[in-house]
Symmetry: C2
Subunit: 432 residues, 2 copies
């Protein structure tokens, strides 16, 4: 990934310390890195390091001292709970030579919370009412442990509670605005992002280069992930205003044609959901080898019931006949993993559910199954649209999870392109 | 989490360095930590630290020096690719004062791989044919970048390629056996794990304590994750043989009754899949708010088609009537989020698909929706079994993703318990 050039002073160095044996034992994924890293990235900061260590007090103290010495901002997550395992608060106070003092306001908030939930407050909950003597409190609307904010040695320590539903609103509503006021993150989004689908990174770079050549000093970064490539344009030295960046991004988008997915951070399913809502169209899906993942991508979107009629996971031939009206002779002649079956599934589910569009996936996700011309990793997509019915054959290497995810991405992207084609046709008809 | 007591010498210190801006920008989750951490944990090693740093050569060099100085084993992932971003090999060789030498055997393997895939090998691919002058090669059956194994200063450096389908088999087939031969991980599983479902950590601890009191020197650790609690019993000083540990675990399992899920590491869905396969029973699922996640849990299991008839994602009232035969009057009287609807969905999907068991989930996953006595987070489960039809009301706080995941876990656990009850009844009938 390209690093944007900069003529500004050294950017502030951020480190994230994630605490917990459960992370190191692989019992929990380190979601805080993913989420906080992305949030900082959007504000123009590349997190310099993430360190995950055990709950052990000595390990926490040693790591914190090292991180504090070399960073401008240290963020910690976890270890603020009421149990004796939660030593982070004490260990960091000692490391910074500060005392912890009982904050009556936090105590009252915790007591109120217990009263409201009709639960008895135990003495160890009081531990959470302590703050650094020279530090501030980040109120927690969703739990008992408040966050802590400490400015010392010209640096900043931010301690956040572990549960994501407590950490995330605290970070966006309190931490980011404070950091922006101190000039440690940008006020708004630091870049304009162009999301593409179905085109490789080097191809994208080649396409955009003539545009970038006309704009000296432009910051450009490409990020490929899960079959998509994003391009982020920014102005490290401030010579381009946001509107100018948007105009450049717009030029890039036009060049991409249908490979352009969206500006910003929306997921592929979200983009398609917006297209469907805008055109008042509805969708139904049928899937075998992806087993619910396609439907789940759409139902992850809040308000999906407005356009999503439903999905059928037809894992057996019987279910394809019973629920999707796939003819038995089609299944016996072509097999369940075939172009014919994919189309029958797509049309079947759209008809059963009275949806405008039907999308189907059938294939061998592996590691077993597959045969002859359709080895493991062979996927057929089916698309039923007002404008016609089609199938498409794809082959993906990789383990079961990857094959499932990539098939789902390909299916949603195909629907996205068909929706663009439809709306283009509709606007031509309107114009005539 | 309790740390097992030990009278043995200091255990070897393991560190994991995960490299890549894409991790720090939150574009990719740090799956290597989760996977490698779990693998080492099973062999009796608690990874002491995971450090994620940028692709920048200076950052890699500095971090590696620090990690190498304090560790016995350092594992790195990523940065072994053919592009100029992939500097790990050079940086670490310099740090260790070693030369990189072209290994003709690796070169041949890479050339063969390109020939087989009918692709042209470019000069930068040759970069991957270099190994440390005093180091070994870990062949890569699934990609071009081999792993590297270096023993120096009484320590071990293990460099692994980034793609999981290359890293994972390399780790289990080559790295773990080598580490075991050197006595740096246990030969087999270091503990016997008892998995429970539906019971809290402190309750579990209280139940097991009398058993543990009779076994001095036993290592005991509890791990709570995603609504499950595992208990791991081990013998840090070697006084209990594996068979003895298994006997102790068996005692614990008996105490748990139906809260006992399994020994080892199987998922809840896998346990239920085995129960279904064993009893020759089949399953169908219907879900609204979980939108495919329940079906996906089962279809993640290889060979699911043996017992999984299919699933219906009925996101609208129409789809509940059309696909599940939910009566319109039931929906208008009780609403789609109701005990009555949950049972109708479970029986409907089982009948439609001719399955023995039907499981249904309907509810308000949030953040919007909900009303009066059924606020956001209200979930109804429905279960259709040969022995009867039931519903159950649950309430979960938390964001949409958590509500979905916990509802699915609760639904699968309910089915698990019903399958135990059935098989118990069946064996009583056989005995009479």
């Amino acid at each position: 990934m390209a690093t944007p050039e900069s003529s500004k002073p050294r950017p502030p160095r951020y480190e994230l310390l994630t605490l917990g044996d459960e992370l190191l034992l692989g019992l929990t994924a380190n979601g805080h890195l993913t989420w906080i890293g992305a949030q900082l990235g959007r504000r123009g900061v590349l997190l310099q390091r993430n360190v995950t260590i055990t709950d052990e007090a000595d390990a926490i103290a040693e790591q914190f001292r090292e991180s504090w010495a070399k960073s401008d901002v240290v963020i910690t997550t976890g270890g603020l709970g009421p149990t004796c395992d939660d030593r982070t608060r004490d260990v960091l106070a000692t490391a910074l030579g500060q005392k912890l003092i009982l904050d009556p306001a936090i105590e009252q908030t915790i007591a109120d919370r217990f009263a409201k939930l009709n639960r008895k407050m135990t003495p160890n909950n009081l531990k959470q009412a302590y703050r650094f003597e020279r530090g501030e409190v980040l109120p927690n609307a969703n739990g008992t442990a408040p966050g802590l904010w400490v400015e010392q040695d010209g640096k900043i320590l931010i301690m956040l509670p572990g549960p994501p539903n407590e950490l995330q609103p605290m970070f966006t509503e309190q931490v980011l605005p404070r950091l922006a006021r101190l000039g440690l993150v940008s006020e708004g989004e630091a870049y304009v992002q162009i999301r593409s689908a179905g085109v490789g990174e080097s191809m994208l770079e080649t396409k955009f280069q003539p545009i970038f050549d006309r704009h000296p000093g432009l910051g450009v970064a490409f990020c490929a992930h899960q079959g998509q490539v994003d391009c982020r344009v920014s102005s490290p030295d401030g010579r381009y205003a946001r509107t100018a960046l948007q105009a450049i991004a717009q030029e890039c988008a036009v060049l991409l044609g249908d490979d352009f997915m969206c500006f910003g951070h929306d997921s592929l399913a979200k983009v398609v959901a917006d297209q469907l809502r805008e055109s008042g169209r509805t969708l139904a899906v049928a899937e075998s080898c992806t087993g619910g993942l396609l439907a789940n991508n759409f139902t992850d979107i809040c308000g999906a019931s407005k356009f999503f009629q439903g999905g059928i996971v037809s894992y057996s031939n019987d279910s394809k006949m019973l629920l999707l009206d796939c003819p038995e002779c089609l299944l016996s002649q072509h097999g369940a993993v075939s172009a014919e079956c994919a189309v029958a599934m797509a049309t079947g589910v759209a008809e059963q559910l009275g949806a405008d569009f039907g999308v189907a996936i059938t294939g061998f996700a592996g590691p077993t199954g597959g045969c002859g011309e359709n080895p493991v990793g062979t996927i057929y997509l089916g698309l039923h649209a007002p404008g016609g019915d089609w199938s498409r054959k794809l082959t993906y290497p990789g383990p079961r999870g990857t094959v499932k995810q990539r098939s789902v991405t390909a299916a949603i992207d195909w629907l996205r392109r068909e929706l663009i084609r439809e709306s283009r046709k509709a606007s031509v008809q309107l114009a005539n």
